[in-house]
Amino acid sequence: MVMGDLVREVDVAVVGGGPGGYSAAFRCAELGLETLVVDAGRRLGGVCLWEGCIPSKALLHVGAVLGEAERAKEFGVDFGEPRIALDALRTWKTERVVGKLARGLAAVAKSKGVEVVGGHGVFEDSRVLRVEGDEPQKIRFKHAVVATGSTPSPLPGLDTAQDRVMDSTAALELPDVPERLLVVGGGYIGLELGQVYAALGSKVMLVEMTDGLLPGVDRDLVQPLARQCERRFVKIWLDTKVTSLRETGSGIEARFGGDTVGFDRVLVAVGRRPASADLGLETTRVRPDARGVIAVDALCRTADPRIWAVGDVTGEPMLAHRAMRQGKVAAEAIAGRPAAFDNVVVPAVVFTDPEVAWCGLTESAATREGRPVRLAKFPWAASGRAATLGRSDGLTKLMVDPDTGRVLGVGIVGPGAGELIAEGAVAVETALTVEDLALTIHTHPTLSETLMEAAEMLLRPA
């Protein structure tokens, strides 16, 4: 059957089925717009569900269980040496975690009447999208939402198309547990996956180009994580660049900082870049910049009045929850409602052990901008709950406006920081004051008390 000339008419065509794309599509459908999603894999969930947030968190949970079992020896419980069945672990991750969530998303799409078309979407102009691949067709749209996400950046100047070199997608496939793994990049992806492989038994070494792990994050929040990594990884090189990767018969040789070291596998995690190429955008008024970023305004509008963009393709911060909010904003704006991406905070979490999370103003940004803030730092050594967990290495800090007492930023490091930061996000987004935080009863004994305690520190006379 020749489908090429069949033109379908829809209100909204969403290109890309990740969190930004499906959030936009679902909201459009709820608002009565006929909506269709074009996705290369003919599935919803995107990188986040299939090769990112979700599978990595599943594996990190396994690592956390292994870590807890190891730590249990401290309080007299010995589970013995763990035996890991890699096939069973892979099946659990793929079927029970990713598969289950994917079926859930597909069911939601069906109930909302959102059709998912398989193929690669290419714009023919500002009204027509051509779908190439599995289900070739032309789609005439009133509005299009570009939600094509991002892909892992290659290591500049190096041949990374080698079997033993993995990007984050390949690493999450869990091909094996290499005896010696080199992680290139000390950002959140490198640290999370480095910890996963370390927990599974790999000897992990890490190379970071800058002078510290998690560049850009407040140093006092990174320090407890850095200490953990130093314990779990064989070695960490800072201020170091990898200059060559060469496969040998039995492994791969990496050259950096004058050393040549042999590994079984290399994981390259040096960032992600927007996936805006090969979309036919040159036939529209959308012009991505040199890095591939599509500029959008608060309504997620691009330079083309019919085309909207959400998620990683619109640049940093490349986080699924930002994409989801943008997707809803774009949908509501398309439907003519007074929506805007006016969010003050996009909270960020590094799901390592310990977790690092922050939202709003950071201490380093305040220093850089010369902005006066009052700081409160509450070390978890003083938290009862942290003591019962055997984890007193955490820290909760608040950045507060000196004039109004308004909470401008929150940073947390420690187990569960990723959940705790939600309170910080509410506080900053709703412009709460330290007094509001201090006067709200927090459950005892919990780690959430550390937010209240930090707020109280600022209310005491200096």
Binding site: E30, L31, G32, D297, A298, A335, G336, R337, P338, A339, A340, D342, N343, V344, L361, E369, R371, D401, T404, G405, R406, L408, E429, T430, A431, L432, T433, E435, D436
Partner: protein, 422 residues
């Protein structure tokens, strides 16, 4: 020499206009007085002619945009020597992109729900100063206040109205204003679509709300036996047509109303609440409500009391056509003292119109029908015209309204008066 052409002053009370069409392109050579743009103001669609002969180098506006008086519309490269251009104003046309927030100021302290409310009410939060919430947070109430909503003023007891004999003392009346409650989430019951209001629709909504909120409306109903008038019109339709005139009841209604207004001047007036005075107008310019596909427009016929019926009829036809084609001038729409609205063509047995504020009264007319009437003990067919006179109870009482309505009815029932009385 490059010259910037700004949106000229459009007359009293008009501060902005919506660009409907741009009739030239960049690079075009235009002659002086050739049409440049079409704009819609509160009152009319107006063509803006080119002030000079020259080449259009840049167009600064696009259709759908609302621009203030003084905003730059078009830049010319002047070729002729004369330049009767208004000086370029520093006010720039509103840009479609979001202005960047100064980085060191940070976001406005307001919850996401308050920010959404501000968007719904069209309030720019950065202009709301001094939030009343903790730590200077801008609250919902702050936003509503900035949107201009005020609490309803306590109603004034009717007994405070001065007795007729007492010396009149001018003092301002209490302001009126109501904040509408938030709408329910209609989406919970089914899909909805939101459409922005057109400039005209918004104007009608604002005017009608103002009138209905501010003015205590009273409506008096009556029916005029226009059997005789109807016969006159029928007899003269064809002769009038031969003279290029379409004879309608409306011109007779206008004449009857104008003559009745001469007898009852308080209905040809405006109340000045600030001064506590009644402004009686010594001219009789009558508005006629005209339905267009864009909405209701009320063109005005001047000096109805002094014009003969054929003249009125001719003027009415020309005016209605200009309005329907969107070509009415501002002068066509201003200065009315009383309004006539004829809903007869669309059916129905009557309607209660809302006063075209700041006028005092409006006459609604429904469809005339032949009905059985008891006349001197016998049932006879007569043509009856239902009338509804709505007026401002602050200015006139029920008895005044009845007398004024009777004055109109009397003239319609004895049409020779319309011809002899001026």
């Amino acid at each position: 020499m490059a010259r910037a052409f700004v949106l000229p002053d459009l007359g009293e009370g008009l501060t902005e206009a919506e660009i409907v069409k741009v009739l030239v392109q960049e690079g075009d050579l235009v002659q002086e007085d050739a049409p440049l743009l079409e704009v819609e103001t509160d009152k009319a669609t107006v063509e803006i002619p080119s002030p000079l002969t020259g080449r259009v180098t840049q167009i600064h506006v696009q259709p759908g945009q609302t621009v203030k008086v003084g905003a730059v519309l078009v830049t010319f490269d002047e070729e002729g020597g004369r330049s009767p251009l208004p000086a370029p104003s520093p006010t720039r046309a509103p840009s479609s992109s979001t202005p960047p927030t100064p980085s060191h100021v940070g976001p406005v302290a307001a919850t996401p729900a308050t920010r959404r409310l501000a968007r719904e009410l069209g309030v720019d939060l950065r202009t709301v100063r001094g939030g009343t919430g903790p730590g200077g947070r801008v609250t919902d109430d702050d936003v509503r206040a900035a949107a201009g909503g005020r609490q309803p003023a306590p109603s004034q007891p009717a007994a405070e109205r001065p007795a007729p004999a007492a010396p009149a003392v001018a003092k301002p009346l209490a302001p009126v204003g109501i904040t509408p409650p938030a709408l329910p989430k209609f989406e919970q019951w089914g899909p909805v679509e939101r459409q922005p209001l057109s400039h005209l629709r918004r104007t009608i909504a604002e005017r009608m709300t103002l009138s209905a909120t501010l003015v205590p409306h009273v409506t008096h109903f009556d029916r005029a036996d226009i059997t005789e008038l109807d016969a006159i019109i029928r007899r003269n339709v064809e002769p009038a047509r031969q003279r290029g005139l379409t004879l309608t009841l409306t011109s007779f209604l206008l004449k009857a109303a104008a003559l009745a207004l001469l007898e009852h001047p308080q209905f040809n007036a405006s109340l000045d609440p600030a001064a506590g005075e009644l402004v009686l107008k010594r001219y009789y310019h009558l508005g006629v409500a005209v339905a267009t596909d864009r909405g209701l427009i009320v063109p005005v016929i001047r000096d109805v009391d002094r014009k003969a019926l054929p003249e009125l009829q001719r003027e009415l036809a020309a005016l209605a056509q200009r309005v329907r084609e969107g070509k009415a001038t501002l002068e066509d729409l201003r200065g009315g003292t009383f309004t006539l609205t004829n809903i007869g063509a669309l059916g129905g047995t009557g309607a209660v119109p809302i006063i075209n504020y700041p006028e005092v009264a409006i006459l609604g007319v429904a469809r005339a029908r032949e009905e059985p009437v008891v006349l001197e003990g016998r049932i006879v067919p007569r043509v009856l015209l239902p009338l509804s006179l709505t007026f401002d109870h602050r200015v006139a009482d029920g008895a005044d309204g009845a007398r004024f309505a009777t004055a109109i009815v009397r003239r319609l029932e004895r049409p020779e008066q319309l011809l002899l009385e001026w």
